[in-house]
Symmetry: C2
Subunit: 430 residues, 2 copies
């Protein structure tokens, strides 16, 4: 495929007009001002369009589309204990498959080409990733409230089987990460066990960190350490990966994340909705932490449109710190694209550059809200709509274009999710 | 027009499935479970759709689409003095006409049926309102930095002429309000003059209030009164209307607004972007102030999608006050619809109820992010996209449907805005 005369969000987060971008196989073969020689197949007229790296949803629980709107007006602990956990206890693998499929349809609609999903029923999550054509790091949520070691938990065996069946599947699109749900939902023995497992297997780790003040302070009371310091002591952070939320991280915590190359995934919408607060993005950036963005699950958002997270990240940083330069449009764009790719350990994604994977989104830049064109990055960060996306490509393959999904039967996924969610709600008498 | 079997956001901000809503002339003729007798012309299949009152943008400067993206990363005073004012000094009436037209195209695309616009070149603003079919309260910005009385300012004559030519035009769609730009940009004499004028002419007043801390504190230092108390003393608030921003209002200020029936227009995106802060919405509601929402101008947003303001109002209130119930989806929906209508003095708008004006938006509720359907109001407030709007009707007339604008040549408006904005930027050497 050859994108012709298209505006491009380049590596330095500037918008350059009228470039040529060629895709060959799963990768970007060429980016430049001149038409490249050779036949790249389909030619795409880029006039009035903008090409950007696909967005990366670096903290998500894709199957939670099933719980969208099920638990409103609650803070995190009540939301989890009274509504989410009882619902999740009744999920089947098929529920998780269709919930994920609907999530990926939505992400693709909004230009998201990769996500990091923590949940249960790994085989069903994996099938949804492979069927949809998405790129995803998936992991199985590890919790433990008793004396067992990690290797004694059913999730250990499940993770081993998932690694065996799925690691690197779909031309490397699918990866399996190690996981710890959180400090407050595990024991020191299990944290150390996951840490050791990840190190031995060479896995990245996905973990919730300092999401609420209560969690952060309770950890300090329990261990005399912040969650980040505690997880570091247990060896978990020797494996780079994703620390989700980081709302209540202190300066020392940011240093710990930076030191170990752990990325901080900001989830502004979910954190506000559950009244948890908001990550200090400028402090994270100053400390040298790789910043990325997540939607969290649909139950606390209620959509998976990462453009909203990008805008809110920049807005909140400006508004709450009283500094209109606190986080620039460029920094927010980077968090939504390259920052996310690096958080997933996908160094070959997240930039429009020859040799990198062809994970791309094309936007219609002729909508009324795109005029005049004074500042491309600001327009992308603050003005653009997720629905401006007219084409989403993952691994060189078009998965969404002009209202049509090429790999997902969206009507089927929607109806399945509706029926399955109603079934569980009825079982719970809700 | 008869909407058949359509889900409806009702007066109590609940979503009721499968209702019939009939429109006759400029008004809603019927809302109910049974198919009404009589011929209402076109029948609209409402299956999979949701009907809600049109949204009301209660604080906007429509022509500022011309400045979209022109001044990024600045706080309010620098943004105004260094970038906005020099640009605005070079605007012509035709610039303002096309800027407004593009703004109304964008608002209609996102289901906004009415707006309150403060700017210059009233005749050109009025023409854009009438040509587009929008409902709008427009007013001419009053500022004064010398010793003249209101009646000695050119804007006084302009306002008189605008009232004469345009008050109530377009079947009452167009109204002219009185205006004071703000306390800091005027003198006590002019405030009293505008107050007296509004009282004599029976006009509502549109004013900026306590947008930044600097403005709020400087007013207290200058007069020993908060901006709200100062404007009250000068008689301005005896005329109900719109106080825009109210970010730094104190409890006494909220009591003043409530006492005089002045509405508080929250502009969450603009207030965050210019690092001004955020209005305390729960406190406003507790004080009995009518709360409404605005996008402010496109230069500080950068779009006019009021769905973003609605979501951010609820999110910010929850997240910053640490209370997930601080502002409910229902309260945010009300602020975006009925609250806005009341702020504009449009008691006959903002609800889906027989006898009221037919200002309506239809949303496609079959997009992936609308499943499952557990909680209609939450889905509308947190999940829905402005781009889900498939039909916008003002005063009984369809103005936007399925990608087409029926009264505005959007391509022409976009090209005009592009050329005119570039002209001014070139003049300024930007």
């Amino acid at each position: 495929m050859l994108f012709e005369k298209i505006a491009v969000l380049t590596q330095d987060e500037q918008v350059q007009p009228e470039l040529y971008v060629a895709v060959q196989g799963d990768s970007i073969a060429y980016v430049g001002r001149e038409r490249p020689k050779g036949d790249f197949g389909r030619r795409y007229d880029g006039r009035g369009k903008l090409l950007m790296p696909g967005l990366v949803n670096a903290h998500s629980h894709a199957p939670m589309t099933l719980l969208r709107g099920y638990a409103e007006g609650l803070s995190l602990q009540a939301w989890l204990n009274e509504r989410v956990f009882p619902f999740e206890a009744r999920l089947t693998g098929q529920d998780v498959y269709f919930g994920s499929l609907l999530a990926y349809a939505e992400m693709l609609r909004f230009g998201v080409t990769a996500s990091a999903d923590m949940y249960f029923f790994g085989q069903d999550m994996a099938k949804a990733v492979l069927d949809s054509g998405m790129r995803a790091n998936i992991c199985l949520s590890v919790t433990c409230f008793d004396d067992r070691a990690f290797e004694e938990l059913p999730v250990y065996e499940e993770t081993l089987r998932l690694l065996e069946s799925s690691q690197g599947a779909g031309n490397g699109r699918l990866r399996v990460d190690a996981c710890l749900h959180a400090e407050y939902s595990s024991t020191p023995k299990v944290v150390a066990g996951v840490a050791d497992f990840a190190r031995r297997m060479g896995l990245r780790v996905h973990v919730h960190l300092s999401e609420t003040r209560q969690e952060h302070e309770a950890c300090k009371a329990r261990w005399g350490l912040t969650p980040a310091a505690y997880l570091e002591r247990q060896g978990l952070l020797e494996n780079p990966g994703i620390a989700a939320h980081c709302v209540h991280c202190e300066e020392g915590d940011r240093q710990i994340l930076a030191k170990h190359g752990v990325s901080a995934a900001c989830n502004p919408v979910s954190n506000l909705k559950l009244a948890s607060g908001i990550l200090d993005a400028p402090a994270m950036l100053r400390a040298g932490v790789n910043l990325c963005l997540g939607t969290d699950g649909a139950a606390s958002n209620n959509n998976l449109n990462l453009f909203e997270e990008m805008k809110d990240l920049a807005l909140l940083s400006k508004g709450l710190l009283g500094d209109p330069c606190a986080v620039s449009a460029q920094q927010a764009l980077r968090a939504a694209t390259r920052g996310g790719a690096l958080a997933l350990g996908r160094e070959d994604c997240g930039l429009i550059k020859a040799g990198l994977k062809a994970d791309l989104a094309v936007l219609d830049a002729e909508k009324p809200w795109w005029s005049p064109r004074f500042d491309g990055p600001a327009q992308l960060c603050f003005g653009a709509q997720g629905s401006d996306v007219v084409l989403t490509m993952v691994d060189g393959r078009v998965l969404y274009e002009d209202g049509r999904w090429l790999t997902i039967d969206v009507e089927e996924a929607r109806d399945q999710v509706q029926r399955r969610a109603e079934r569980i709600a009825a079982e719970l008498g809700a």
